[in-house]
Structure formats: C-alpha cells, structure tokens
C-alpha cells in the first residue's frame, strides 16, 4: 500500500504551525425564494506550512467556496478558519489568490499589473517596477512587459496572474482551477512552471482542480470532495512521488499509475455521481 502511508516530509521545521485550519466549516448561501443552499457541509481541513494540497471534486461541489472562505472573501455559516494559528477576520493577509476567471486589470500593462500589489503596499513605483520586471522574467514574459492583457494569450495572462500573486510573497497560495481554460499542452507547461517557482520557497498551496492527473502530478496530498449540495471531504491521499517532478514525465512512471488507480477506484462511484448530478442541474 503506497497511499495509506503517512507522509514523512523532510522540510518541516514549523510542523506545529498550520498555514490553514478549517474546523467544522459549513458554507451556505441564501436562496432567492427564501431558505438557504448549503454548498459545503461539515468540513475539516488542515494545510501545513510548505505543503502543497490539491482539492479535487466534481464541478460545482464547492471547491472554490472553500478557497473563498480561506481567503476571507466569504464568511462560513459555521465553524472557524484559522491561519497561522490565528482566527481569520476580514481578508486573509497571508494569502495570494489566483482566480479561475481573468482577473488582471485590463487597463494596466502586464508589468503594471504585476507591480500593483507592491505599489499599494507602499513600495516606491520605481522599485516595484524593477521587481515586477524580474518576476515577469521568472514566468517567461520579460518581452511582454508593456502589453495589455487583451494582447496576451490565455496562458500568458495566467503567467502574469501568477507573477502578480507571487511578487507579494504570500505564505499561502490559493489557486482556483488556474489552468482550467488552457489547452492540455499549456497546462503541462504551466504545471512545471508552478512547481519550479513553488520549490524555490515552498509556500502552503491549496490548488483546486477537477483534473486528477494534474492534482497527483503537483501535490503532496490530494483531497477529494463529494458532489454538492453539502459536499464534504471524502478522501485524503498522500502522494509519495519524489520531487522534483516533471509534469509530462511523471505520467509515465508506474508509481503515478498506482496512485491514480487507487484513488480512482475508491472514488469512481462518488465522482461519477457528482458529474451526473452536475450534468442534470446544468441548463
């Protein structure tokens, strides 16, 4: 049994301080005709500092909702969000959030979009731009600094978004299907880029995706959520694959297949049920 084994992480000096602790979280939305819709029911999740956690689940199961609660954009109906041992109030200042939708400011150039996070924190513009240039280089867009978002491809926009978030050095990185709209090839490249940047200073990551391959390839731990309403965590798997990893190569390793098969066998029913449900709900 590869999967059931507990992780022995070699880089955990701050073992006792968890980056994120969701305890007894319920998230509900008011419905238009009165009453409430419970998107997420009774959920407990702990993400250690420097840990990469992927959250997988069918469409519409409340994965994004969980991230929004962690970010402080959404207040859970019940339960508590703690971040670095402190209860969260307001926005989570430790968190950087890469959204699923296009969220760059379309009226700012790539470099201005990257620099803005520093500027609003009081860094002089010149320094902010200098650092932004470095970060654009890290995501491979040094030559595109003066382009506006509409002049960039979908993948390039995501890279700018990544630089925009990482330049502030957040201790927690929240990513909501960040590579969702991209084609398969670009997803692999973006995955490798993310792993590269992450391994430099290992932040805690919560990475939401519906792609099990992507989750296994990237993460230390894969969390599986059930279909909504009142979706909850139904699986928690440690991924024993060695780092550094390469997104394209890792898929040909036998260990990857073992892990994949095991998770898939355990969850096939639930996941398929979820997809069926979300198909039915869809107009």
């Amino acid at each position: 049994m590869i999967i059931a084994r507990k992780t022995t992480r070699d880089l955990n000096e701050a073992e006792d301080v968890n980056a994120v602790e969701l305890s007894g979280i319920h998230i509900a939305f008011p419905l238009q005709g009165g009453g409430t819709y419970e998107a997420v029911g009774e959920t407990n999740l702990v993400v250690s500092d420097r840990e990469f956690v992927a959250i997988v689940g069918p469409t519409g199961c409340g994965k994004s909702t969980l991230l929004n609660a962690t970010a402080g954009l959404l207040k859970p109906a019940q339960g508590q969000v703690r971040t670095f041992a402190k209860p969260l109030s307001g926005l989570n200042k430790h968190a950087g959030y890469l959204f699923q939708q296009d969220s760059l400011m379309p009226w700012k150039t790539a470099i201005d979009n990257v620099a803005i996070g520093l500027e609003v924190a009081g860094t002089p513009r010149r320094d902010a731009l200098e650092q932004a240039r470095v970060w654009l280089g890290k995501v491979g867009l040094a030559a595109f600094a003066d382009r506006y978002p509409h002049m960039l491809s979908g993948g390039q926009r995501k890279r700018v978004g990544l630089a925009q978030v990482l330049i502030r050095h957040p201790k927690i990185l929240l990513m909501d299907e960040p590579f969702g709209p991209l084609d398969a090839q670009t997803r692999l490249i973006m995955g490798d880029l993310l792993l590269d940047l992450w391994s430099a200073d290992r932040k805690a990551v919560m990475f939401v995706t519906h792609d099990l391959d992507e989750a296994i390839g990237l993460a230390d731990r894969v969390i599986i959520m059930s279909a909504g309403p009142s979706s909850r965590i139904i699986g928690n798997y440690t991924i024993p694959l060695a780092r550094p990893r390469n997104m394209a190569d890792i898929k040909s390793e036998p260990q990857f297949h073992d892990v994949h098969r095991e998770i898939w066998n355990a969850l096939k029913e639930e996941v398929l049920k979820g997809y069926r449900q979300s198909e039915e709900v869809r107009p």
Partner: protein, 263 residues
C-alpha cells in the same frame, strides 16, 4: 478595395451631388431654377458666402462663441456626471431613492428648457451652456454609473486580495472602469454639447453659428442658411476627429475590435 479607390469614390459622391445641385438650381433641366434656388440656394453662391465669411473673419467670432459654449457644457456636464455617477453607484440606497427622478428628468425633451434657461441666465453664453449641460450630464452619468457597477467581480476580488484598500480600489479599479465607459460615449456627449450650444443659440442669442443660421433664415436668405449649415458640419466633423484622436490615446488598453467608430 484599396484606400485610393475608396477615397476617389467618396469624392465622386460629393462631386455628383454638387453638380446635380448646381444644374438643378441654374438650368431648366429639372424645373424652374428660380424656385429651386429660392428653396435650395445655389452651391456656388453658398461657397462664395462661406469664402466671404472666412475672408472677412466674422465667422471666427461666431465659431469661437459656439466652441466656448460647447466646451463649457461638455466640461461641466462631464464633471457633474462623473461625480454624481460615482456617488450613486457607491451608494445604492441613494440611487434607489433618486431613480424615478433621474428617469423623469432624462425623459424630458431638453429643448423645452431653453426658454427657461434664457429667462434665468439671460441671452448670453450661459443659457446655452446650461442646455448643453443637461444633455451631456445624463450621458456621462449613466455611463459612469454603469462603469462602476459593471466592474468584473473577479477583477475586484483580485484587487482586494492584492491588498488594496477602498481608496486604492477607487483609483485603480472603479475609476478606470468608469472612465472607459465614459470615454466610449465621448462621441455622443461631445456631439450633444454642440447640439445644446447651437439649439440654444438658434432659440435666442446674439452670437454663434446657431444665431447666424437663425438670422439668415428670418430674412429668407437660404444661401446664408446653407452656408451656416456647411460651416457647422465642418466644425462638428473636426471636433469628432479630435475626439477620435483623444479616444485612441486613452483607450489604448482596449481590444481594437470593441472600439465602435460610428456615432
């Protein structure tokens, strides 16, 4: 079709129209030239009148007055529209309370206000400016209001997560979004500023292009009316061209395809 052919064809349309107009008003080919030229004037006489105006220099004074009125109407109306639009968009209760009154005020055809403004503000430029302001204000107001309301929620959440406070959100998110909506209606609002000025002059004044046309009309000087119309047309085209230049500069971040060049 290449550019040269297009321009040649465009010029051809003007030439054919002018020649037809000239023939109709000077020969018996279509009807009695006296009658036709009484109602439609003669192109050569119209041209001569325009040349005369510009040679004498009297037209510059009238153009200057109309331009001043339109510019003031545009500036005051835009400022008011931006401020009130912002204020309403950020205070939904206020917007809800005033909603029927804003709609009612906007429903009123502005021309009927001209006599009241003349009464209040006299026959000088300010009654014309006021008329232009009532036209420009609502266009800018609605666009700014919409611009603030329609900021993409993803962009807004992202800006918040990047650490912006309310003031920074206003400056980096709401303001650019609102201004982009305002600039995209720049042609319309500038056009209405000119309309306000000219209509105001037409209804009662002592200077400006509207006054010039009205004066000519009151003595059945059709040549003067047409000459005034052509000068006005040229003036508006020039202003419109300047607006396009400004717009291209300000909205450089927008995809080219979404810039609508027609009015």
């Amino acid at each position: 079709m290449n550019r040269l052919t297009l321009i040649s064809l465009q010029i051809l349309v003007a030439v054919v129209t002018l020649v037809f107009w000239h023939i109709a008003s000077t020969t018996t080919l279509i009807g009695n030239p006296k009658t036709i030229s009484f109602f439609f004037a003669e192109p050569l006489a119209v041209g001569k009148r325009m040349v005369q105006w510009f040679m004498e220099g009297s037209i510059w004074y009238h153009l200057g007055i109309t331009l001043t009125e339109a510019a003031l109407a545009f500036i005051i109306g835009s400022l008011g529209g931006v401020i009130i639009g912002f204020w309403f968009a950020r205070k939904p209760l206020l917007a809800a309370v005033f909603d029927p009154y804003v709609k009612a005020a906007n429903a009123l055809p502005r021309v009927v206000l001209a006599p009241i403004f003349a009464l209040w503000l006299g026959l000088g430029i300010w009654s014309k400016v006021a008329l232009g302001v009532t036209l420009v204000f609502f266009i800018v107001f609605f666009n700014v209001y919409q611009g603030v309301k329609e900021v993409s929620p993803a962009v807004l959440s992202n800006a918040r997560m990047l650490g912006m406070n309310e003031r920074q959100l206003l400056r980096h998110v709401y303001m650019p979004s609102a201004l982009s909506w305002m600039f995209s209606s720049l042609h319309t609002s500038v056009g209405f500023a000119v309309v306000g000025a000219v209509v105001g002059e037409y209804l009662g004044s002592a200077a400006g292009l509207g006054y010039l046309i009205h004066e000519a009309e009151s003595v059945f000087d059709v040549t003067g009316v047409f000459a005034g119309m052509f000068v006005l047309m040229g003036f508006v085209i020039l202003v419109d061209w300047l607006v396009t230049l400004v717009e291209n500069r300000l909205l450089v971040w927008r995809p080219r395809t979404s810039v609508i060049s027609s009015r």
